[in-house]
Symmetry: C2
Subunit: 332 residues, 2 copies
């Protein structure tokens, strides 16, 4: 890579050009009180030399970098993409920069990214992580999304339990008699695992019979769902008339599997996902779903990270969810 021209102007150059002291230049830059006359001279010199502050020198003194690292599995999954986008928005509004750290790409590199923060390179971390043994330096502000794994780490998530309950209630409203919960994923004790608990609670409260089909991570979701569903199809009819899937992704898999078996979502079976993924961010929902308030989650996480709160213990913030029709349930 080409290097910069060696002669990048510094405060010293500006001071000389303007005929003032470096302190004055610094004050102008930082909006400290300065005589109008001097201010003008400095600004002109800055313009003439095309001067820009070197934020590395700045950060060296300030121990503040205005940069936040975001740890996320990837940006391909539309839910993650949307979350990253909202986080960027929230950070940019507060004049913070976003250092993107995709943890999928170099698997289990989460720890490395967390360590990076200690090098004073970022002011804080917002992480949606799965590493069960993640060690977080207590001196680095950290906000977790979807996972409350340390009493000192604030966590923000959608109200997963209520989301599961709501899904159950909707299936009941839709007249279902036998439901199932489907999911593949981390065994970690994270928030999304409450979706199942909420669903079970909702089913029991409403008298809806249900089964659970829950598999560990690192398994091809489509494969296990196909096996499960196929073993529950008799004479072309599915044993269940309502399905709640852990994510919209799973719901989409299920919809397609059933379609291939001649069973149509919304007509023969009611299917609800979780996340609220929309194609291209604006089109309709991919499936009927429990929508997460992505924007609120991002705003809250950033507020929690940058705000100077004074909680006795780190809070768990559960934000309200919404049911959205997306074609895989009959209109109510």
């Amino acid at each position: 890579m080409k290097r910069r021209k060696s002669s990048v102007p510094t405060v010293k150059d500006v001071a000389r050009e303007a005929g003032v002291a470096v302190g004055t230049v610094s004050r102008v830059i930082n909006g400290k009180p300065v005589t109008e006359e001097y201010e003008r001279k400095v600004r002109e010199a800055i313009r003439r030399l095309d001067y820009h502050v070197n934020s590395y020198a700045q950060g060296l003194k300030a121990t503040r970098t205005y940069t936040v690292a975001v740890l996320i599995p990837n940006t391909i999954n539309p839910f993650f993409g949307s979350l990253v986008n909202c986080l960027h928005q929230a950070l940019a509004d507060r004049h913070y920069r976003l250092l993107l750290c995709c943890t999928d790409s170099n698997l289990r590199q989460e720890q490395e990214y967390v360590d990076m923060a200690r090098m004073n390179k970022v002011d804080g971390i917002i992480g949606l992580t799965y590493n069960p043994s993640l060690q977080i330096d207590p001196s680095t502000p950290f906000v977790s999304i979807d996972r409350a794994f340390d009493p000192n780490i604030p966590c923000v998530a959608s109200d997963n339990f209520a989301g599961g309950q709501l899904a159950a209630r909707k299936l009941i409203e839709l007249g279902c008699h036998k439901a199932a919960f489907l999911r593949v994923g981390s065994d970690l004790d994270n928030e999304p695992n409450k979706r199942r608990a909420g669903f079970e609670h909702g089913c029991m409260a409403g008298g809806l019979e249900y089964d659970c089909c829950v598999y560990s991570d690192n398994i091809d979701p489509k494969g296990v769902f196909r096996d499960f569903l196929m073993s529950h199809i008799h004479d072309g009819r599915l044993d269940y008339d309502g399905l709640f899937c852990g994510t919209d992704y799973f719901a989409c898999c299920v919809v397609q599997i059933l379609k291939e078996a001649g069973i149509q979502a919304g007509r023969d079976v009611q299917i609800i996902g979780y996340d609220g993924v929309r194609l291209f961010g604006s089109e309709g929902y991919l499936c009927s779903t429990i929508e997460q308030p992505v924007r609120d989650i991002a705003e809250t996480a950033v507020d929690l990270l940058l705000g100077s709160h004074n909680y006795h213990a780190a809070p768990l913030v559960c934000l309200p969810i919404t049911f959205r029709e997306g074609g895989t349930t009959r209109p109510l």
Copy 2:
């Protein structure tokens, strides 16, 4: 935000703890030759004090930050999300960090992000930008994606012209007799605009009759496409039996509009998009499409940015595209 404990250990502390000079510590850190005995002492001191280098101080001397800014409209559109993910991968492989700059969020902030680079905050920029009057500091390495707007700026894109030609050829193979090209977007002279040119060329070469429906930016795509298509439906039949859409997003819009009008993609009309978007990155294609080699684009852009090439003029690299069936065309 909580501040770090004031006593973050520095090289000086490590030196004192290890009973050596700061220079020796620095040498150990940077892998310069050091006696085994000293190396051991320093490493132990580093471990004991839990020392981490301050990269701001490092950057101050080195003028190298190992950080690259990526300018992209957003991470919601799955194509952008996928591109960002690949760029992250390519950068991480080379031990570079990715500073994410979504230009949609604060509209037309592209210039601001470019300016940021001059503050020595990033080593280079990879930008997928639309700002027609973007001023790029010639001393900041910049690689453009999809837009060749300066003879000094390398540009990498998919082979848009060939993609357009391929789409035309496919429609011809599918037996189409009257085709149309649909698109909404920037009037900018960027690479994706060659999709239309290639398509026209392909149609003419193959004797396929065609129309073009091209609209400027900032228009609701679904609205204009609906108007256009509706005016071309007579007695429930579409005037066209083949459609090439500027992006997969447009193709999806069109598919849905036609579906509502009782016209089925793949059966009544052959529809091809552009990008190669896949739901959740792994499922099937959203529509039949000309797939961009996102991974190669990212790798090439990073290589161009970080590599020490010596071109007389900045190259335009057009990477090969592929046709993919995605259900909106009849199987060939």
